[in-house]
């Protein structure tokens, strides 16, 4: 009897430890905030290009996370990406003329939406639409823009160079 009891104790200890580890994995490692699920309110925004923005990406204001991206889908009517944001309920004073932009966290980090407060006295409500948006910066576009502006400058210099040469003497 004594031996079975110690076996049961060790088994119980093992099981408790196992479930504690499972609980730790679910609550401490993940970003699952149990208080923040369906709460809060939704905002919508249309972007020309969302880059690699994903569902669950943070929405931040002045660098502080105030919500998450709920869905990203392509709208065939407007030919734009339609993004739904879920904002935590305590951040209910976002001016109506705020603008949304897609940024990249760090050099290799994921993309997130940054909201910048406008100056209006009225605030966005459930289902509100953010009118002013700025697309994600796509690296290829940035490089081609830079290259073209560089080429333009060179071409300008070439066309203006002979003029200055002839006008000099």
């Amino acid at each position: 009897m004594r031996q079975t009891r110690s076996i049961e104790l060790a088994t119980g200890f093992f099981a408790a430890l196992g479930f504690a580890a499972l609980f730790f994995m679910v609550t401490q490692i993940t970003n699952r905030n149990l208080a923040f699920g369906d709460g809060g309110f939704r905002l919508e925004a249309d972007f020309d290009n969302v880059g690699s923005l994903k569902e669950g990406a943070p929405v931040s204001m002045s660098g502080v996370s105030i919500g998450r991206v709920e869905s990203v889908r392509y709208d065939q009517q407007t030919y734009k990406a339609h993004v739904v944001l879920r904002i935590q309920p305590q951040y209910n004073r976002i001016p109506e003329d705020s603008d949304a932009a897609i940024f990249t966290a760090g050099l290799l980090g994921g993309q997130y939406i940054g909201l910048q407060a406008g100056g209006a006295d009225t605030y966005l409500k459930e289902g509100g639409h953010i009118a002013m948006t700025q697309s994600a910066v796509v690296l290829e576009e940035l490089i081609s823009k830079f290259l073209f502006s560089f080429a333009d400058k060179e071409a300008q210099q070439k066309t203006t160079a002979p003029e200055t040469a002839t006008s000099n003497p």
């Binding site: 076996i7 093992f14 580890a21 994995m25 490692i29 993940t30």
Partner: protein, 256 residues
């Protein structure tokens, strides 16, 4: 000609063994809910398979996590991204290292014990004696062991992962000076509940494979000293192959 027949015979034997294994596993699985009605037997097997493997799993988990922290930090520092150690260690442990290493250790520690125990029971005619008393040895001996191992491995995996993360944090934060807050907050923002679920599902599959192979090999071992030894070897080899193969399939499934 003779060689050809031998080869065909070998193939036939392998197929027979595979079929026998699958049928036996199905029988074990079907009988498991009934075995849970007599929890005393299963609890004793959870003790044998789980509680006795606990120290090994904790020790190995700590060192796997520590080496992950050391190697990960060394690599990430080259890119100036050592804060990404948290997510790297967490995802690596949750999805791959945790389930696979725990299952391999489990096959070596608990699987062999199961096989040799059942094999020796057969060698010493204990199983035949049970049959004489109209006690089904599969139900009385095999199923509780199978159920105990099935329940123990996922818990062991969870413990392995948690300890491993602690080890990674120990090396990364205490030794290499990565910021604690960065470590945990980056981990939390990178790891989803689905990633945890993937680890748990993987360890369930591995538990199924390891437990059924160990019990099958033990029950079908030749009832001699040599036969039991061979069966024990086969348990480790087949379990390891099954775990690594299953891991590839499950990883591909989860990535698609």
């Amino acid at each position: 000609m003779n060689l050809r027949i031998d080869r065909l015979g070998g193939l036939r034997g392998a197929l027979e063994k595979l079929g026998g294994y699958l049928l036996f596993s199905g029988r074990l699985l079907l009988a498991t809910p009934v075995a849970l009605l007599r929890p005393g037997l299963v609890v004793a097997q959870i003790y044998n398979a789980g509680a006795l493997s606990l120290a090994l799993i904790m020790f190995c988990g700590l060192f796997v996590g520590m080496v992950l922290g050391l190697q990960g930090a060394d690599l990430l520092q080259r890119f100036g991204a050592e804060e990404a150690l948290g997510p790297a260690a967490a995802l690596g442990l949750l999805k791959q290292l945790g389930p696979v290493m725990a299952a391999l250790l489990f096959a070596g520690r608990a699987g062999t014990a199961l096989t040799s125990e059942i094999g020796l029971m057969a060698a010493t005619d204990q199983l035949s004696a049970m049959e004489m008393m109209a006690v089904d040895p599969v139900r009385r001996v095999c199923v509780p062991r199978f159920a105990g191992a099935l329940l123990a491995l996922p818990l062991l995996t969870a413990i392995f992962i948690t300890i491993g993360l602690y080890g990674a944090q120990l090396v990364g934060v205490q030794l290499l000076g990565i910021d604690t807050g960065q470590f945990w907050s980056q981990m939390r923002s990178a790891v989803e509940l689905d990633d945890v679920a993937e680890g748990v599902v993987k360890s369930l599959f591995f538990a199924l494979a390891c437990a059924s192979i160990a019990v099958f090999e033990g029950f079908h071992a030749q009832p001699t000293a040599e036969g039991v030894g061979r069966a024990t070897t086969r348990t480790v080899v087949n379990s390891s192959i099954a775990v690594l193969l299953l891991n590839y399939v499950l990883t591909a499934f989860y990535l698609s």
